[in-house]
Every structure is written in structure tokens, then in C-alpha cells.
Amino acid sequence: MTLDTTKTLNFSPFLRLQWEEAQQKHVILYPEGIVELNVPSTEILKLCDGAHNAEDILVELEEKFKQPGLKNDIYGFLEVAIENGWVS
């Protein structure tokens, strides 16, 4: 699958992204399931807010983490997120 890096991304309205105190982690909740997230994945998903596209997310997070060269990681994760229906 190829990611359209200019398309605005939205986190699915059917799912919920929230902090879980018991696990000290963010999770995605969906019908019949829970996915535990690490910090970078959480940051990416939080930016899928209807205002950012993949390119914006890349710029913003490279800036935030003060680390260049995140392109493969971020785009790779977004592809997985789209395939799983978390983001569209």
C-alpha cells in the first residue's frame, strides 16, 4: 500500500484513544479489542485530528523529538494504522 502523504488524516470516530492508568500506557479501544501503544505511536495518532496530513505529522514530530530521519518510521506506522482502520 502506498500512503498519500498529502491527504488529511482522521482518527476513526468508532475508536477511542485514551491513557490507561493501570498500564501506564495509551491504548486504542475498539469493538472487541485493545491495542497498547508506545509513546511515538501515540504522538502520531494524536495528530490524526482532521487538520494534519502525513507530511505535517513528520515535520511536527521531527521538530518535537529533535530528531531527523523519522520518515520511514512514521509513514510505516501510518500505513499500518490505515490498514487496521484506526485512521482514514
Binding site: 470516530p13 468508532f14 477511542r16 485514551q18 490507561e20 492508568e21 493501570a22 498500564q23 491504548v27 479501544l29 475498539y30 469493538p31 472487541e32 479489542g33 485493545i34 490498514e83 482502520g85
Partner: protein, 375 residues
């Protein structure tokens, strides 16, 4: 007690709140206990609010409201509201019977995340026959209203010998209703399904065919509809890892407040499950004998005890071991290594015999009259 089982207990993640055993339908595969009609007491609203709070504080996050038919409870909306405030992701598991659009909207406003509607068959006559009540048209209408009001549409069809040949039509119905999730749940033979097993268990050929149709469709609708296919373990070599391990993940609270490590555990003799009216959810989870009974591997007999796969399936399902062998500590006969494996073959043989017989036994429907007559 360093290194004891208690130190390694993980918190519950899923809470199943069985709000009531009342149900307008009479499905002959219902997972409720056979003697449900004799269990009359129901937790009051306050008890449920406390149970939700206590389980959430421990880490439970997925919540199912089921029954019976949870819509029968007049305090459902209040419970949903509380669940949302606590941060649960909540699911209403309903037959759709008695649901109105006003209720769907009200529940959404209260914070309900999704509604799972079950349909017995894509064919009206069979649906109504299995449900024991005319309900087909209304169920389909409810499914549409669920979708219309912005919920993910979760459709559940329980699969057995009476409808397994309709797999193509089941899939077409799901797509027609715009299902986002489809649960194809092969019947698990506990409760009423155990009672009706000879009439419900499909043959191996039927099962193989239905599975291949469902799997092919799953590929086709990938990205549009998520299909969960629950396999029937009678035709497998290894049992399921029941409840992801006893007392590790799942907590069920029955209508009268009995806390169960799995929703069928009520059938297990001598387990003596605790009640939320007597103990906090925390104490039940950590300290009750019932929840500790099958934790770890100490309880195991051979061949499980020395089996390298025990960390994968935990010896299978204890309810199935009990129902098929009379001892819940035995290896689940769904495992080909079980010395009681023959019980599974016998069950398959009996079911085939029933299927081919000219005067097949009638189904026993799940209703208060039959419940009382049987217990």
C-alpha cells in the same frame, strides 16, 4: 509470600456485566445456565454502579452489558452514563428486541460506544423459529438504526447446524446492513447449547465448507468489514486458551452478583464463586478461592502438567472438561492428547446420527418453563 501466584496476578481488562437473566427470546444455544429461572435476585442499581467503579479502578476497560436481554433493565442508561464517566469502552450486547430509536439515541448521549445486535439467521422463518419469537424484521430495523445513529455496526450470528448452510446469505446480510464488524460465533457447547448439542453441532464437512466461505469473504472485505470467526473446537486438535487464562483478563458478574472467571463457570460444582454483595471486586479477583483455583499450573493433571504447550492453552476449557468428563481438572477433550478424546468423537457421532435420523429430537428452548422443568 514472595514468588507466590498472588504476586503475578494481572488486573482484569474485560468486564462482562450480565444485567439480567430475563429475555424475551428463547435461543436454544443460549449460554445462560440451565437453572436461570431459579436465580431470581438481581443486583440493584447501586450495586452495579459500585461494581463498575471497583473493576475500573483495578484496570478493567472493555465493558459488555449483556444478559439475558440488558434492555429489560430500566437503569441501563444510568449504568452506561457511569461507565462512560469512568472511562470504559462500553458495548451493549442485545437481541435488539424492544429497542427503539429513541433508546438508541439516549444511550449514545449517555456515552455508549457500540451496540452488538444478534440475528439468528438471514432467513425470517428460521430466525423467528430459533429465537422462539417473531423478531426478524425488527432486528434488521434495529441494525439499520444503530448504523444510522453513528455507532459502529457490530453484527453477531451464532453458527450451528440449523444455519451453517446459510453462510453465503449471512455474509450478504451483513454487507447489506453495512456491518462494520461481523462476529461469526460457532456455538460453544455450554449451558443450553450443551443440552441441544445433538441438534446443533454441524458435521465436519459443513464446518469446513462454511469456514472456507467465511475466510474467502474476509479477504474480500478487508478494510471494510472486520470479521471475527470463532472456531468450534470440536474439530480442532488443540483446545482454546480459555478466557486467555483463568483469572488473568476476564471478569463476569452474573445478574445476582455472582462473580465468575468465565461466564459458564457457574456450572462447575464445588467452585463456589463469590458474590459482589459480600466482597469487593478487588478481593474477589485477588483472594477468592474460585479465582485462584485455576491460576498457574499447580492444579493440572497429566497430560497437561508435563506438556510443553501448557503455557499456550492452559489445558483448555474447564467447563468443557467438566461437561464431557465429569471432572473440571481434566484436560479439555478438545485436545487430541486428552485420554478422554473419545467423548468428542462420541458427541460428533451422536450429532451426525441425529442429523440423519428421520425423527430428530426437537430443540429445547431456553425459557423459564423449560428451565424449571429441567432443574
Amino acid at each position: 509470600m514472595a514468588g507466590s501466584v498472588n504476586d503475578r496476578i494481572s488486573p482484569p481488562r474485560w468486564l462482562l456485566a450480565e444485567l439480567t437473566y430475563s429475555c424475551p427470546l428463547q435461543c436454544p444455544y443460549c449460554a445462560n445456565p440451565i437453572d436461570f429461572a431459579r436465580i431470581k435476585s438481581e443486583l440493584n442499581t447501586e450495586d452495579w454502579l459500585r461494581v463498575l467503579s471497583e473493576a475500573r479502578a483495578m484496570g478493567a476497560v472493555q465493558l459488555g452489558f449483556s444478559g439475558g436481554e440488558p434492555l429489560v433493565r430500566p437503569d441501563l442508561t444510568e449504568l452506561v452514563k457511569h461507565a462512560r464517566q469512568l472511562g470504559y469502552f462500553s458495548n451493549l450486547i442485545t437481541s435488539g428486541y424492544g429497542m427503539t430509536e429513541a433508546k438508541i439515541v439516549e444511550l449514545k448521549e449517555a456515552g455508549l460506544d457500540h451496540i452488538q445486535v444478534s440475528i439468528q439467521s438471514p432467513e425470517k422463518t428460521l430466525n423467528d423459529e430459533l429465537a422462539g419469537t417473531e423478531s426478524y424484521d425488527h432486528k434488521k430495523e434495529v441494525a439499520r438504526l444503530v448504523k444510522k445513529n453513528g455507532y459502529p455496526m457490530v453484527l453477531c450470528v451464532v453458527i450451528h447446524r440449523k444455519n451453517i448452510h446459510q453462510m453465503h446469505d449471512i455474509l450478504a446480510m451483513a454487507s447489506d446492513l453495512g456491518a462494520d464488524y461481523l462476529e461469526l460465533a460457532n456455538t460453544q457447547y455450554y449451558g443450553w447449547a450443551h443440552l441441544n448439542r445433538d441438534q446443533l453441532l454441524p458435521t465436519k464437512e459443513q464446518f469446513v465448507e462454511a469456514e472456507s466461505i467465511a475466510q474467502a469473504y474476509k479477504e474480500k472485505v478487508k478494510g471494510k468489514m472486520k470479521i471475527y470467526y470463532v472456531v468450534p473446537d470440536f474439530y480442532e486438535d488443540r483446545p482454546k486458551a480459555c478466557m486467555n487464562g483463568w483469572g488473568t483478563t476476564f471478569l463476569t458478574i452474573a445478574p445476582d452478583g455472582t462473580a465468575l472467571p468465565c461466564h459458564s463457570a457457574r456450572e462447575l460444582p464445588g467452585l463456589d464463586c463469590p458474590n459482589v454483595k459480600d466482597m469487593s471486586v478487588h478481593d474477589i479477583w485477588h483472594h477468592s478461592a474460585a479465582f485462584n483455583h485455576f491460576r498457574g499450573f499447580e492444579w493440572m493433571k497429566e497430560p497437561c502438567r508435563s506438556c510443553p504447550e501448557k503455557t499456550k492453552d492452559f489445558g483448555g476449557c474447564h467447563c468443557q472438561a467438566y461437561l464431557l468428563t465429569g471432572d473440571m481438572h481434566n484436560t479439555d477433550p478438545a485436545c487430541s492428547l486428552s485420554p478422554d478424546r473419545q467423548r468428542v468423537y462420541d458427541a460428533i457421532f451422536q450429532a451426525r446420527h441425529d442429523a440423519e435420523s428421520a425423527n430428530a429430537k426437537p430443540l429445547i428452548f431456553r425459557n423459564p418453563k423449560n428451565s424449571k422443568a429441567l432443574t
